[in-house]
């Protein structure tokens, strides 16, 4: 083995978290601004995807791999959420 031990510097995860927070802010702006309801669904979907990324970077920065479970659960749930919103809109079209 090499003498240098692997160590992830703090500023990397910090920068990633800041970038992800900025993009979440932008997604929130587009959620408020979106002219129609489907636009808002797209923004919500994007926010959910960003929160998965946030959880993964947080797991790497704390060094606890159990946080990856949260990412898996969010990934499983957001799909159902998006489909539920879409079918709600379809029902609205029927009325």
């Amino acid at each position: 083995m090499n003498a240098i031990t692997y160590h992830l510097p703090d500023w990397v995860t910090l920068t990633s978290l800041i970038i992800l927070a900025l993009s979440m802010l932008l997604a929130l702006i587009s959620l408020f601004r979106g002219p129609s309801l489907p636009d808002r669904i797209v923004a919500l979907d994007l926010i959910a995807s960003l929160s998965i990324g946030f959880t993964i970077v947080f797991a790497v920065s704390t060094g606890n791999y159990r946080y990856l479970d949260i990412a898996a659960i969010v990934a499983l749930v957001i799909f159902i959420g998006t489909v539920a919103y879409a079918s709600y809109l379809k029902k609205k079209y029927y009325d």
Binding site: Y6, I19, L20, L26, A43, Y94, D95
Partner: protein, 124 residues
């Protein structure tokens, strides 16, 4: 040490692609082009971030759960974008002025469900 270089690059690239998706959703003019940004870029960003996490922990559990998340995201992202764009087209969401062609409009091959004329009909 290859890990020393690979993991920061993957983490930063993944979060930058997520930022790209957010900028695209704000900048693009109509919903269909927005869907391009909101489907491809976050899926790729999550792929990069999960790869970084799998290499960082490099235990069997972390690799397995990372693989599961990646496969699930890549199976469901196209389905979600399909269902949103279909509903948006059904509701008649306005398209951009410079849209060249629309062959889905009034096409007989796709059955548009009839509006149910029930007691809750909207007055317009």
């Amino acid at each position: 040490m290859i890990k020393m270089i690979l993991i920061p690059v993957l983490l930063l690239a993944g979060s930058l692609f997520s930022l790209l998706a957010a900028i695209g959703v704000i900048r693009f003019p109509d919903i269909y082009t927005r869907m391009h940004a909101a489907t491809k870029a976050p899926a790729f960003g999550i792929l990069l971030l999960q790869t970084a996490a799998a290499i960082h922990f490099s235990t069997l559990y972390a690799v397995a759960i990372s693989l599961m998340v990646i496969i699930f995201i890549f199976l469901t992202a196209p389905v979600a974008s399909h269902i949103i764009s279909r509903v948006a087209h059904l509701l008649g969401t306005p398209k951009w002025d410079k849209t060249v062609i629309d062959e889905l409009e009034n096409d007989p091959d796709v059955s548009i469900p009839e509006k149910i004329s029930g007691s809750r009909t909207k007055q317009s």
